[in-house]
Amino acid sequence: MSDLIKPELVCPAGTPASLRTAVDAGANSVYCGFKGPTNARNFPGLNFSKKELSESVKYAHDKDAMVLAAINSFPTAGRTDIWKQAVDDAVEIGVDAVIIADIGMAKYVAEQHPNQRLHLSVQAGASSPEAINFYVERFNVKRVVLPRILTVPEIKRVHDAIDCEIEAFVFGNIGMMAEGRCSLTNYVTGISTNMDGVCSPASHVDYEPDDDDGLTTRLGDFAIDCISCGETAGYPTICKGRYDTAHKKNYYAFEEPISLNLTRLLPDLMRAGVTALKIEGRQRSRAYIRSVVSAFRDAVDAYAAGDEPDITELIALTEGHKETQGAFKSKSWR
């Protein structure tokens, strides 16, 4: 045995089939959202009806897994009813926690459903102990999902200064942009990431092939990347595109299309006091969820037992793509 406490493995699900896949592959909890604008992955064909979530919670609970409902976008004044309904439905269904980003919705949960466990979404952008403590003191937040911008020693310092659990991302998409504070998509499409729950809506994404087997990625009418033949593609978001400035041409001005993979840092994160390890990717397929979740299940169990896990399979999942430990390893990444 090792001195490490086994963390909760929190896995994504965009559909009921994905949720069952994640539970069967060893997830301790699964996070998901309702159809519509109430969560930050409002993609076509994705997410749960009330009935589907209800059935899914039963499936998970029967197998001792938890379900966390992400209601983590920002309702615009005049339409908070949709978000309140989503909270009420999630509570009625009996989810194990609701994940909230908007300060007004945090108040709603704390006042209307004081016994409901409340998690603070990464979309709330609480990146310092002071910000986190504000939410903990006012709204009885039990867990914070930390932004992917802190080093492991910084996470440890946050842990020591706050009175709630920490959930940290360990795998998947990564970005340095402060979440919940970005209107780049809205600037180009008229659809807001915060208010409509979608970054780079598929309805406004267009891939334009050229004669040389290259590809121009467009969001709205702006070219956000030009991919030449043989190059790999990335997510069609503004922050993952290539641009020109006076000093540098045709470069990833914000960030490389790169995957976060903290497999090797898992013991450090566990020692830093992280309660839950989060895998990103509610928009990904069942095939992805099956491989990533089972690989992390094995890795976490092995580390907790004091063994050295075989992580080659996890590394293979990002094969062909670039992977990084991002800001977690070194602040020089900023």
């Binding site: 920002f74 309702p75 615009t76 004044a77 005049g78 908070t80 908007d102 300060i103 007004g104 919705m105 108040k107 709603y108 709330a124 609480a126 990146s127 310092s128 102990p129 002071e130 910000a131 403590n133 504000f134 939410y135 932004p147 911008i149 802190l150 910084e154 340095m176 942009m177 402060a178 919940g180 504070r181 970005c182 209107s183 780049l184 809205n186 600037y187 180009v188 499409t189 008229g190 915060n194 208010m195 709205g220 702006f222 070219a223 030009c226 503004i238 922050c239 641009y243 020109d244 400035t245 006076a246 000093h247 540098k248 001005a253 914000f254 800001a327 602040k331 020089s332 990444w333 900023r334």
Partner: protein
């Protein structure tokens, strides 16, 4: 309630003397009533202005301006946290919070909420009001209908709403410095390269379209927000505080143009012409207000 113009904090890295002279001129020559001041983008820049700050504040006070200290927007490192704390615990200075950590640190009492904080709905507004907010400057991406609903909720709570009506729009904040990145440096080793661009660094698409503006960890619009056409409409829905966000070129022309329109001395179209003649090299935009892509310009509310 009578309309008033406010001046948002300078968001770029200006030479300390230019920064000082800008505020002296604001004090001496402009009708703005409230001036927000302080480093909101980068904690590394803040000490650059320490020597100028006392003179600037004194000059603004002498001119009868209400001076409010804005806090840092993206707070992560210990340096960031110390900066916020220094501003938040200063007694006797009104504060504009741009991050939740400032709310946690400041003493109880009246304060202001800045546009880099999220206040999208009535419930959020209630949280801030109960905590002591007297004015809230809203995120520029909130469309007219959202502003109207918020204004309705703000009135009984005694909170005044403010919106940005001029200047480049803040679209994103980051943990990473994109100015440093363009110069193959990191945030820690930046050597303050952002001082080369007093209105930010232009970012173009690979097709050559002028697209965004990089200001350290902040990404702004390339276009310059201009709601001169919407002032009547804004007042009719209950918004009476109008924020000008400073650029190195055209800010004084904009202040006078907006003031003249508010006082009925010139028409919005005359004002627009004056501002077009003296502005950073970028088009005006008002798309967000009309719930359209933010970069667009609409002469009037577009038909759906």
């Amino acid at each position: 309630m009578s309309a008033q113009l406010t001046l948002g904090p300078v968001q770029y890295n200006w030479a300390p003397e230019d920064w000082r002279d800008f505020y002296f001129k604001i004090a001496d020559e402009t009708p703005v009533k409230t001036v927000f001041i302080g480093e909101v983008i980068c904690s590394k820049r803040a000490p650059l202005y320490d020597n100028q700050l006392p003179d600037v504040v004194e000059r603004l006070h002498d001119a009868g301006k209400h001076v409010i200290f804005s806090t840092l927007s993206e707070v992560t490192t210990d340096i960031d946290r110390r900066l916020v704390k220094r501003v938040a615990i200063s007694e006797g200075f009104p504060i504009e919070a741009n991050d939740v950590s400032a709310l946690q640190q400041m003493a109880k009492g009246p304060h202001h909420i800045g546009p880099l904080m999220n206040c999208y709905n009535e419930e959020a507004l209630e949280v801030y009001a109960a905590n002591g907010a007297t004015t809230i400057c809203l995120n520029p991406e909130i469309p007219r209908d959202g502003l109207a609903a918020l204004a309705q909720a703000a009135e009984p709570l005694g909170v005044e709403l403010e919106v940005q009506v001029y200047g480049r729009v803040s679209l994103a904040l980051s943990a990473r410095c994109y100015h440093a990145r363009a110069h193959n440096r990191t945030k820690d080793s930046c050597l303050f390269v952002c001082d080369e661009d007093p209105d930010g660094m232009r970012l173009d698409t690979l097709e050559g379209d002028k697209f965004l503006t990089v200001n350290g960890i902040q990404t702004q619009s390339h276009s310059v927000l201009n709601l001169i056409d919407c002032l009547d409409d804004l007042q009719s829905i209950g918004v009476n505080r109008f924020r000008i966000s400073p650029q190195s070129v055209g800010t004084f022309t904009a202040i006078h143009a907006f003031n003249d329109v508010l006082n009925g001395r010139i028409s919005p179209s005359e004002a627009l012409k004056k501002m077009r003649d003296d502005c950073v090299d970028a088009p005006f935009s008002n798309g967000f207000y009309h719930q359209r892509p933010g970069y667009e310009w609409h002469d009037k509310v577009p038909a759906e």
